[in-house]
């Protein structure tokens, strides 16, 4: 009952298609390299002027290895680090997570809590930045208008990131 009310409420306010969850899909490509390490990935929402609205996820090495704590290389996700990472006390609940294997990863976010809650109508970008040890770095920016339209938005990286998709859940 509550869910129905929420959905109805949203559609009244914003005219958004009927949904109360958002899906962010990030494809981490499989690499054919001698030394492979899973990339550090940061996903955030930014204004068109690159100022940060909110963080969605940061995937990095949790804990400590012989080479040091995972936080040591967060600065290599360099735009994220500059725009927001360096201001955060890591780990951040609900944002920090372990690195992911190659494949398609889906983050499901509610529209009534988390980064998309209280997002004012307007132009934004979903930014995904990946940085890989002994590898490259790539940033994919996917512009979107909030509230989302029914059709999914997507943008593809060329090397370190595959397809990045933002859509309303079915």
């Amino acid at each position: 009952m509550r869910a129905i009310l929420t959905v109805a409420g949203l559609s009244l306010i914003s005219g958004q298609a009927l949904a109360d969850t958002i899906e962010v899909e990030v494809d981490i490509p499989r690499m054919s390299v001698a030394e492979y390490h899973r990339p550090y990935v940061a996903i955030w929402i930014a204004n068109p002027d690159n100022s940060v609205v909110s963080n969605i996820a940061v995937w990095y090495q949790q804990g400590e290895t012989g080479e040091g704590k995972g936080e040591t290389w967060l600065k290599d996700i360099r735009q994220w680090w500059r725009r927001t990472g360096r201001e955060l006390a890591m780990p951040v609940d609900g944002i920090s997570g372990p690195t992911k294997a190659p494949g398609t990863h889906e983050i499901v976010l509610a529209t009534d809590s988390g980064p998309f809650a209280n997002l004012k109508a307007g132009q934004y970008q979903l930014v995904v930045e990946a940085s890989r040890e002994v590898g490259g770095r790539e940033l994919v920016s996917l512009p979107f208008i909030w509230p989302l339209k029914a059709a999914p938005e997507s943008q593809s990286g060329e090397r370190e990131l595959g397809k990045v998709t933002l859509r309303l859940a079915d």
């Binding site: 704590k69 936080e71 040591t72 967060l74 600065k75 360099r78 360096r86 201001e87």
Partner: protein, 271 residues
């Protein structure tokens, strides 16, 4: 007007005017990282006076005057210090969040005079100037020189406490923080002379790896009325900045020539 590397005629002219200077030795210190995350990180720093940036191919930097300042203003000791033939190196442990200043330099005097038909040259500080009785030498010419060779590294978010003016010579004050420079974006630095905005100071900026270029492609700028220069590094990489000014200083009521120099190393990251 915003000067950019490789894109402006003014730069080409500046490069020509620099040609006479092309083989000047350059003093620098270069940290292994400028920006760090996590906690208890280390940087290793090289220091040399060389012909190319940043290749130690002339003489090692002397580290006698080295001082390292933590973000909270406390002094940090260099570790694993070594001075080789062409370069010196040392490690710095970063235990506090913020910007560290790694600095060399000094405030000293140069003197020259004739003695028994021979030209004598002397270099020292305010104290040895007295103890060596330099001012009493007949026909002595004394000049003062205030020098700084610096770099900055940041653990976590950049801070500005280490840029507090010391009030002597040329100093850099961030408008853009030197650990927040990105290729393709405007960068502004302010220069202070004896703690006040230094107008009309000439500043050279050269990207590292000039060894692999046929032309230095440097940028020659002059500070505006507020002591500020603004430029856009078109390419990512380590950069060498050198500023000089001259003026007068007084020594026991006598006017003497004063030369100030300032060198900093910073990096521009790719967007």
């Amino acid at each position: 007007m915003k000067p950019t590397f490789f894109k402006s005629c003014a730069v080409a002219l500046a490069a020509l005017s620099l040609a006479g200077n092309a083989f000047a030795h350059r003093a620098w210190i270069l940290p292994s990282s400028f920006t760090l995350s996590g906690e208890n990180q280390w940087v290793t720093v090289d220091g040399a006076i060389s012909n190319n940036l940043f290749y130690p191919n002339h003489v090692a930097m002397r580290l006698d005057s080295l001082s390292i300042t933590a973000p909270d203003g406390t002094a940090v000791e260099a570790e694993n210090t070594v001075t080789g033939k062409y370069r010196s190196a040392f490690d710095v442990k970063l235990e506090k969040e913020g910007t560290y200043r790694i600095s060399l330099g000094g405030d000293g005097y140069n003197a020259s005079w004739e003695e028994n038909g021979e030209r004598k040259r002397w270099r020292g500080n305010a104290e040895t100037l007295k103890t060596d009785g330099i001012e009493a030498k007949s026909g002595v010419e004394i000049s003062r020189s205030v020098r700084r060779i610096e770099t900055f590294v940041t653990l976590g978010s950049p801070t500005t406490a280490v840029f507090a003016t010391e009030g002597t010579g040329l100093e850099l004050k961030p408008v853009t923080h030197p650990n927040d420079v990105f290729a393709g974006e405007n960068v502004s630095f302010q220069f202070l002379q004896d703690g006040k905005p230094a107008a009309g100071v000439e500043v050279d900026i050269i990207r590292g790896n000039d060894r692999y270029r046929n032309a230095e492609n440097g940028l020659k700028l002059t500070t505006d009325a507020d002591g500020v220069i603004t430029f856009t590094p078109d390419e990512a990489g380590p950069y060498w900045l050198s500023a000089e000014s001259s003026g007068q200083s007084s020594l026991n009521g006598k006017e003497i020539n004063l030369r100030n120099s300032y060198v900093a190393t910073f990096e521009a990251l790719p967007l």
